[in-house]
């Protein structure tokens, strides 16, 4: 499907969480496959998980991670580094995407607003979707500036809803 079309379709879709428990390994392998299809500039990509199982809506968490990865990939230079970590902090799951690319723009508080973008291409819906996914899980998204680059954190708690 064309990327912009998918963005628009996901944007207008209401997020109804169907939480489940799934393997962290499979979830991250899908992220690796996604990134391999994206990576045309030799970016170093690392994934690590400190949990065996994840709880949440696999479809939406995957979409959120894909958007964070696209965002990170656009920010890094050739040969740059992106690192994905998945771990637990108390009752919360934390999905972290670090990139050593461009620092945060001065307008970073607007990053999660719909149709806000600092890029030439795209509709500015990717990070908005990440925020929607986090909120639908009762969680939050945080951005932590780093000496080089930045880290996005998607934090949510495990509450399976039947």
């Amino acid at each position: 499907m064309l990327q912009w079309l998918e963005d628009i379709l996901l944007f207008q879709k209401e997020i109804k969480i169907k939480a489940d428990v799934f393997k962290a390994e499979d979830f991250l392998l899908e992220a690796q496959l996604f990134f391999a299809g994206l990576n045309k500039k030799g970016v170093n990509f690392y994934v690590e998980s400190k949990v065996e199982e994840v709880c949440g809506d696999r479809f939406w968490l995957k979409k959120a991670l894909e958007n964070l990865l696209k965002n990170a990939f656009e920010a890094v230079k050739e040969g740059g580094t992106i690192r994905v970590s998945l771990y637990k902090e108390g009752e919360n799951f934390v999905l972290e995407v670090f990139d050593d690319g461009e620092p945060l723009p001065s307008s970073s508080d607007k990053l999660f607003e719909p149709f806000f973008t600092t890029k030439r291409e795209g509709f500015g819906l990717g990070l908005y979707l990440v925020k929607k996914v986090a909120e639908a899980h009762g969680g939050v998204v945080k951005i932590i500036p780093q000496t080089e680059g930045k880290t996005f954190q998607l934090i949510w708690s495990c509450k399976p809803i039947v």
Partner: protein, 150 residues
């Protein structure tokens, strides 16, 4: 014992290796080819049960290769993989005789489900071929016996 032999024809090394890793973990014997020439060599050397074939390859078109497979290895169900997901591509692949069609980025659950279905199909085709062979042997033996009585 391995659950089955799978050949992945995919030019992107990272995607090929990740896919192979995922399928090996499920108990399959997996080999990878980065182009059609390599795939042909591997097909001559080993008996594969399922083939995962990328749509665009450096030395040719996946759809054209599908025609080659249908002619030379009709028993191997082929699953087409493509980054150019569209209804048009899906229809072309199915018309050309693909067993199924998967869009990238791949969903592992969907992949596993379709690979399992393809394996069942392959098993069934092999059993039918074997029965046909046995059947024809049976008729041949009967015909020879009839000939002797003449």
């Amino acid at each position: 014992m391995k659950k089955g032999n799978i050949l992945i024809v995919e030019d992107d090394k990272a995607q090929r290796e990740l896919l192979a890793e995922a399928l090996r973990k499920r108990g399959f014997y997996v080999e990878g080819a980065e182009n059609l020439a390599e795939a042909k060599e591997l097909l001559e050397k080993r008996d594969f049960n399922v083939l995962l074939l990328d749509y665009k390859l450096p030395d040719g078109d996946g759809l054209e290769f599908l025609a080659y497979l249908k002619k030379n290895y009709p028993n191997i169900p082929t699953i087409m993989l493509t980054a150019y997901a569209s209804v048009e591509n899906a229809v072309s692949a199915m018309k050309a005789g693909a067993f199924h069609y998967l869009a990238k980025p791949l969903n592992l659950e969907e992949l596993n489900l379709i690979v399992d279905k393809a394996l069942k199909e392959n098993k069934l085709i092999r059993e039918i071929s074997l029965l046909r062979e046995r059947g024809s042997n049976f008729y041949l033996t009967r015909s020879l016996k009839s000939l002797k009585t003449l």
